[in-house]
Subunit: 148 residues, 2 copies
Amino acid sequence: MNTNQADDALLALAQSFREALRQSVYVMRRLDSEEQLSSAQLGVLKMALDGGARVGGIARNLGVKVPSATEQIIKLERAGLVKREADPDDSRAVRVAATAAGRAAVENADRRRNEFIAGILGTLSPAERDAVQAALPVFDKINHSVQS
Amino acid sequence: MNTNQADDALLALAQSFREALRQSVYVMRRLDSEEQLSSAQLGVLKMALDGGARVGGIARNLGVKVPSATEQIIKLERAGLVKREADPDDSRAVRVAATAAGRAAVENADRRRNEFIAGILGTLSPAERDAVQAALPVFDKINHSVQS
DNA sequence: TCCTAACAGTTAGGTTGCCTAAATATCAAG
DNA sequence: CTTGATATTTAGGCAACCTAACTGTTAGGA
């Protein structure tokens, strides 16, 4: 039946997709192991760049619970990369802001990580790069449907 | 200059790619949280399906160190999903084989996870699904270059 | 033959990143 | 001025990974 064929194709695609997900986790781990700043910390730090991120917002944005965000923020604070200060408008809240060192660390980490990935992407054919480029927005969309 | 333009494009693609990687980790986590069998365990268990995987081979295949593989194998053994037996040809080695319960568990977990992903993929347009399909082999290739 | 280096796996101990539940402090509404 | 909601931190735990050290086995010389 047509419906079943469609389902089967979708399930087969899902299977391949899952395999790619597994691989992505591996690549991510590898990327992290090469650097000083973990990607969890980098994520938090990036959010603190604009100067006034709140803990809850950071957590929501990264898809983790608030205590997990707090944990990373404390580590970054100890490393001198962010500072925490009371929100002037709401004393319950905390504003997390990157320090100058934090800003520099983000730039550095981002550059190094991008160069690492770019090095790999550079070995692909133009057609392959195009395939990646075309798929990225779809991956984005998939992620958002998972979050919701 | 042309070279710099190419580099910039590559770095920009790398940046987007990294973002997708980050998202993949999130999706993977979500997928794991819905299930009884973690993806680490599922990976090991799948490798034990044929009946005679060795610990070192499992570890290499999953991109983890031997003790990490041992740890997962022990958990699976305690759950009755695999059994460990001495390799008849080399008493240093251990053969890890899925039990009947293990085989059933793989099928179940795989089906449920594929259905979850297929549910998401089903909301995409045909063009978007094609984009994903086209990119998956490239992702595979990228993974292999990271491993090496 | 026997010794030793290489190899396969396990054990011990540590790290990171995530989680839930409970405590603390503040806000805002009645 | 009390009470419920909100923002964060603290405490305690868990999963998956790692390195270093240990046990047992194999295999290649001297």
